[in-house]
């Protein structure tokens, strides 16, 4: 049970000086209060989500297919509006979409350079940086290819590089490594972890791979389905760097998986 401990959202504020700060203030990067989302007059996708994510925290979300994870990220990103409740986010978060969402008329390089172009970074500089980013996702050799010439996993990596090309302090990632083989995924875990540390990013990360969640997260949030609610939160206090196949990671994974299965089964899905 080393991996799981009592939730303590204010661990990095030992003196409690920020304890009464308003949500979205200096210690919380993302705050959701009683957020619900109903599509049209139909599906209730989220129901009363309360969530606080500290600056610099790495939170993973797991839950059944269709439980509202993407909806949650979309709301945090500001692209969708919550039906009710309050959302406050520090700065403008970068969202890596579940479907790659690359611009089909741009090469990989230009896709990755686009956020910098929009931010006004000079051409030489942004192209250099885009080259670096593509190399860091192991795609240094496809800079000139267009999305339709790439494999599924390659597109996902280009999209990752594009997300990293923004200057956002908050990253929202929707199953970013779903189409990658184990080896490539491990490499990208390391890469992401080091970027997160170096830049002090806040990351909200959706995955179906509980082991991946445990590998990366400070905290794993389990969502129920129909409607999406926060069922349980699991702080992961394993020392970093962690490995995907660490036994400790495995045991925490087993525990969360059991809870997840129970949750999914309870909703008859």
């Amino acid at each position: 049970m080393t991996a799981l401990a009592v939730p303590d959202a204010r661990a990095d504020d030992p003196f409690g000086i920020n304890a009464f700060r308003e949500e979205g203030g200096s210690d919380n990067a993302v705050v959701l209060d009683e957020v619900t989302k109903r599509y049209g007059r139909g599906t209730l996708a989220l129901d009363g989500i309360d969530l606080r994510v500290r600056r610099g925290e790495f939170v993973c979300f797991v839950g059944a297919s269709g439980c509202g994870k993407s909806t949650l990220l979309n709301i945090v990103s500001g692209l969708d509006k919550a039906t009710s409740g309050r959302v406050s986010v520090a700065g403008r978060p970068a969202l890596m979409f579940q479907e790659h969402a690359l611009m089909p008329w741009l090469s990989s390089l230009d896709n990755v350079a686009l956020p910098m172009r929009l931010a006004g970074v000079p051409k030489a500089q942004r192209l250099e940086r885009a080259h670096e980013l593509l190399a860091s996702v192991h795609l240094g050799d496809v800079v000139d290819k267009r999305p339709h010439e790439l494999s599924g996993g390659m597109r996902q990596r280009v999209a990752l590089a594009r997300t990293l090309a923004t200057e956002s302090q908050v990253l929202l990632m929707d199953e970013p490594f779903g189409a990658l083989d184990a080896m490539t995924r491990d490499l990208l875990h390391d890469e992401l972890e080091s970027v997160w540390r170096a830049r002090g990013l806040t990351v909200l990360f959706v995955t179906h791979n509980v082991r991946e969640a445990v590998r990366l997260a400070d905290r794993v949030v389990l969502l129920s389905s129909r409607p999406g609610r926060v069922v349980q939160e699991y702080p992961i206090e394993l020392a970093r760097p962690r490995r995907f196949d660490d036994p400790a990671v495995g045991s925490a994974t087993g525990q969360i998986t059991t809870a997840l299965r129970k949750e999914v089964a309870r909703h008859g899905d």
């Binding site: 089909p104 008329w105 686009l114």
Partner: protein, 285 residues
Amino acid sequence: MAIDASLATELKGLDALESATDEAPLAGRVWAQTWPKIAAIGLFVGLWQVVVWFKLKPSYVLPGPGSAFGEFAHQLTQGTFWHATAVTMTRGVVGFLIASVIGLLLGVAVARSKVLRAAIGSLITGLQTMPSIAWFPLAILLFQLSEKAILFVILIGAVPSIANGVISGVDYVPTTLVRAGRNIGARGIALYRHIILPAALPSIVSGLKQGWAFAWRSLLAGELIVAIANRPSLGAFLANSRELGEPSYMLALMIAILLIGVLVDSAFAAVDATMRRRRGVGALS
């Protein structure tokens, strides 16, 4: 096909990578594009000649291809014909460019604003259905007997087409791309410049093509309102050829107009083919 070729070259320059996917050798590709055209023209002219041989209609009503092409060849040696072509082409190109700018802005404005769309969205098509002849009095009222009156008639014809192309293109930009664009920091004009307009480009180009057709037709009709001294024009020639009852002259002018139309379309087709190759669509045929 000169425009076609030079444009294709330019586009290839813009997009050097594409050349790798052109698998067939150049000569073969040119031939594959050319023989069907020759065959189609041959077939058509052949049929026409047969009709004429059988004397189904007297030759002063329907001259044979020989006399039409002969007249066309003769016109090619005439200075006034070239002068008229140059005048009309200049008006057409200038009018089209202005119409493109206005149409683009209008289209984006209407696509963007719900209020504007409700206010004038349907009016745009309404204006488009108004025949040129209805605009002549207004054109003269506003611009007297000047080049501007002709320009006005061109714009009234072409702007709605172009704007409609933009609107329909913008409307059908995949939601994901717009959301992605917004998320990576594209707001306001940048969103249009970098995301929406490129994504809508195919539909915009097809709107521009329709706009050209409208502009050209309106121009040829409009050249009749104002016969400006020493400015011969294809539109006036065409109307006069009809009034003077000279069918082979009229056919020669129609050949010229058709040729210009085909050339312009080839330019559009080249742009379109490049766009499709870039985006990896249209592996259909």
